[in-house]
Subunit: 239 residues, 2 copies
DNA sequence: CATCATATAGTCAAAACGACTCATATAGTC
DNA sequence: GACTATATGAGTCGTTTTGACTATATGATG
């Protein structure tokens, strides 16, 4: 940045043609599939109301204001399209291929976010905002299909070693609910006993003394995510 | 990117104050420590010849030309400061805090790179380019100290599960040389037998029928990195 | 109170891993 | 030419982790 061997003028003087910065967000939630009833990953898209790619669906996002932090811009676009606050927000990747946007050189810093399922149910939907099943997307604007694909890969790999699945749930939840999240993300069934063992050994949950009654079986204990455990998470820039 | 709900004019019209895009690169190589003789991580820095932070050392980089790919810009700054080609180059993170550069809003897409040790030995050094031991850096310009710290964390975690260590070496190398790389990066001794076992089971190397002679002991077999194995590496945007 | 369905606990073998032993092959030394 | 130092490369052993499986607990239902 501000490397001196190349730039003898200020960047604004040097070139009239500059890359433009945008921020986009891949927002995941879990909701029951219409057919199977099983929970699957969904994400909101916005319809483009201008060229390029007018009419196509695209990731929510916008130009980066010079006075707004990157993560704040991602959270804002998330709020504006879904009326939700992210339970988890992390930078995914920066996409900057020259030809990814016709005409203008656009470099997009993409974030990915997780929001709670129940809240997302009543999330705003309109003519220009719609939720799609993450693995059944139509052709999207720009390179957004591959962006989503990469975000999906990141979510699926990270859920296996990081404590992020609880971001889809409320403050307290049963192990069965947490397992349901893992199963939905990984798209495979998990053994309840083994799942319990691995979660317990990770020390990421605190067991409350509350139970959920009403079901036609032994009541399940409610757990809470252990915030103190987050201190042991990998370092580096998050959010 | 090009989100429509927010932006009713083109971004250029909308705001005269825009963020400026830069690309920087953390370039790692291995070289023997002056005292211990053990190989440690080193990286090249450039001295700032203008404000802000005039005189301080900084990561090599520069403004992003609108007609150059992000990774190409990273590789170019790498070539311009070290005269080397990267054996490994990957996007690290995009740093964009509002106050990270005084005055101007600069968003830096940072790459990290590995270059071969032997070649880096004769790499260009000058008044304004110098190599530093990665864990003994002076106070750097901007947020570059934390950038390097994050790059170091990324290198150390990734070398344990990805096949990147060979990027420090030549086309063929002994297992002892590869182990020396791992030991230098992880800063701990590794059991030769166990290291051999894990590498062999990973299937990332092809054994040649060549051996290195001259040493006062049993000659070690030379191995070659298996390019076909790279197909099984994680997907997503690389380089 | 028998039954059902899931929560929770426990078992067992295979695989992965760390620490360790030992035979092998060269170059240098006597 | 025998001996020695040294690192390669193969193998052993016990511990930990992991996946598949079995068994028990408990409230709701009829």
């Amino acid at each position: 940045m501000l490397e001196q061997n190349l730039t003898e003028q200020s960047p604004l003087e040097r070139s009239t043609v500059r890359a433009t910065l945008a921020v986009s967000t891949v927002i995941f939630t879990l909701r029951p599939d219409d057919e199977s009833g099983l929970k699957t990953l969904w994400l909101p898209l916005v319809r483009r109301t201008r060229d390029p790619h007018l009419g196509l669906w695209a990731l929510p996002g916008g130009w980066l204001p010079a006075d707004e932090e990157l993560a704040a811009a991602a959270a804002r676009t998330l709020r504006e399209t879904t009326d939700l606050s992210p339970r988890y927000l992390e930078q995914l990747y920066t996409f900057g291929d020259i030809d990814r946007s016709p005409g203008l050189r656009v470099v997009s810093v993409v974030y990915w976010a997780l929001v709670r399922s129940e809240v997302a149910e009543r999330a705003s939907v309109g003519e220009n905002v719609r939720w799609f099943a993450a693995d059944q997307l139509p052709p999207l604007a720009f390179d957004h299909n591959s962006v989503v694909e990469y975000a999906l890969w990141r979510l699926r790999t990270k859920v296996e070693y990081a404590r992020i699945a609880h971001a889809f749930l409320g403050d307290t939840f049963t192990l069965a609910q947490l397992r349901e999240v893992h199963e939905a993300v990984l798209q495979k069934a998990l053994d309840p006993a083994n799942f319990r063992r691995s979660i317990e050994s990770s020390g990421s949950l605190i067991s409350t003394d509350q139970h959920v009654a009403g079901a036609r079986h032994r009541p399940a204990r409610l757990y809470r995510y252990d915030d103190r455990a987050a201190e042991h998470d990998p370092p580096g820039p998050t959010m």
